[in-house]
């Protein structure tokens, strides 16, 4: 005689979250839907470093110093840790307004603008705020039904509003926003250092070994060297350039999104109201400032009566709303193609994040 214990399946909040994200490990990991390029990034880093440790390091540790592989390992572990942190964490998604809140805001808007007759396109919904003597416009997001906080933007790929939205990076498979920008920056910085390191020691290895057995013999013995040098060469140009660009953004406390849109270019006397005016202070705030926790509560348990209902799918709501068309281009400049971020396979493969690179080229 056995007692049957019926275990109810617990529904966690991540299962019912709207937006186009994928969740893993029961809600602990949050990523964008398209992860192919992220796997490529992982493969390139792991593959190159494995070859480096397996071949060059063994020779260089003996010939030069055992510190070489140790330092390479530290750089490798740090960049992997920051990459995974960037890819797996919540970038700062703003949860959508619940129906009561959305209705309240609608009422306020109608009270301000007056009721719009049926069939007519409603006027763009904008609220003005003054921050540090600058007028900042808050836009209403039709998908999330909220007024977006300053510096927030709606990512059309993930279909979420993200705080302090920087850009959507297909190479890390996630948006880069308030909560994971520092991890992203540290990732590209450590990857730059790692790439330079591996490239330099590959050259040293080839030089040292060629003195003993000749150049062609060296390449025949470790053909992986050629591959590593090629990968590092192409990665160097893109990642180091990107690191430089983001260092510039951090020093001025700007986001890629603002840079592309030219929000604070200085024409019309518009200054960045978020900058402290001091490079050190800006860097400290962006990289070492307080880290807000995620407000998504992915692992919270849904009460039983709510677990049966599903929020309306975003494809249905977004296609039926007239003013939706400007929203997908929010995070890209009007003259940049918004499709760039959603079709990353069209871009040349070795180059890491394209949108900021285009911003660098546009600036030049």
């Amino acid at each position: 005689m056995s007692v049957m214990v019926v275990r109810k399946k617990v529904t966690r909040k991540w299962e019912k979250l709207p937006g186009r994200n994928t969740f893993c490990c029961d809600g602990r990991v949050m990523m964008a839907r398209q992860k192919g390029i992220f796997y490529l990034t992982l493969f390139l880093i792991l593959g190159t470093c494995t070859l480096f440790f397996a071949f060059e390091c063994r020779y260089l540790a003996v010939q030069l110093s055992p510190a070489i592989p140790v330092f390479a390992a530290m750089l490798f572990l740090f960049s992997m840790a920051t990459l995974l942190r960037t890819s797996f964490s919540d970038p700062g998604v703003i949860p959508r307004a619940l129906p009561d809140e959305a209705a309240f805001i609608e009422m306020e808007i109608e009270a301000t603008n007056g009721a719009v007759p049926q069939g007519q396109r409603p006027p763009p919904r904008i609220k003005n705020f003054q921050i540090n003597n600058q007028i900042v416009k808050l836009k209403y997001c039709y998908t999330c039904k909220i007024f977006r906080p300053p510096r927030a933007s709606h990512c059309s790929i993930c279909d979420n509003c993200v705080e302090r939205f920087d850009h959507h990076c297909p190479w890390v498979g996630n948006c880069v926003g308030k909560r994971n920008y520092r991890y992203f920056y540290l990732f590209i910085l450590s990857l730059s250092l790692l790439t330079i390191y591996v490239f330099a020691f590959n050259i040293v290895y080839v030089a040292l070994k060629s003195l003993k057995i000749g150049f062609l013999e060296t390449l025949k013995e470790t053909p992986g060297t050629v591959l590593e040098v090629l990968i590092c060469f192409f990665t160097l140009w893109s990642v180091v350039g990107l690191t430089g660009f983001h260092t510039f953004l951090v020093a001025l406390n700007q986001t890629t999104n603002e840079d592309i849109k030219g929000s604070w270019t200085g024409k019309n006397r518009v200054q960045n109201p978020y900058s402290h005016g001091n490079i050190v202070k800006n860097c400290c705030e962006v990289l070492c400032g307080p880290l807000p926790p995620s407000v998504l509560d992915r692992r919270g348990i849904l009460p039983l009566e709510e677990s049966g209902s599903r929020p309306p799918s975003t494809q249905e709501t977004s296609s039926s709303l007239l003013p939706q068309s400007p929203v997908p281009t929010e995070h890209m400049n009007a003259n940049e193609m918004p499709e760039d971020t959603s079709t990353p396979e069209e871009m040349p493969p070795p180059e890491p994040p394209e949108p900021p690179q285009e911003a660098v080229e546009a600036e030049k």
């Binding site: 572990l77 740090f78 840790a81 920051t82 942190r85 703003i94 949860p95 307004a97 619940l98 009561d100 809140e101 309240f104 805001i105 705020f129 003054q130 921050i131 540090n132 900042v136 808050l138 909220i146 007024f147 906080p149 300053p150 510096r151 705080e163 302090r164 520092r182 991890y183 540290l186 109201p273 978020y274 400290c284 705030e285 990289l287 070492c288 400032g289 307080p290 880290l291 807000p292 926790p293 407000v295 998504l296 509560d297």
Partner: protein, 168 residues
Amino acid sequence: MATEVHNLQELRRSASLATKVFIQRDYSDGTICQFQTKFPPELDSRIERQLFEETVKTLNGFYAEAEKIGGSSYLEGCLACATAYFIFLCMETHYEKVLKKISRYIQEQNEKIFAPRGLLLTDPVERGMRVIEISIYEDRCSSGSSSSGSSSGSGSSSSAGGGGAGAR
């Protein structure tokens, strides 16, 4: 004297939700989390203006403390970076500690001030830090199941104003 702490579950059972008021964010100081202290007209008959403003100002103070940029936050950031952020697996950030303080404060305020007036404050963290949601309840049962004269009313919905007056 009957207990001043109004049982929140009792409130939910005996009262029905009339409406909700949403206190929006105040962005005049930048992107830091601050809420508007403007007194909503819907709460005019339910709670004193000064009590409401005090609550919102205290909450704003807590959030300012959480987001304060200073020596200790830099230290925490640098230490976390040095450990490749693995330290966050075992340590709570300063922000999370302050959010817990805020939760306790809101619960305390609900028990002592808001629930006796038939109001309920929702922690902004549950609304994505966008709004402070204040639920306004109307008493629906005729007998005073709620405790003292400082409760939200003695029966009919029109006694909501009387409940507020009783608290003074």
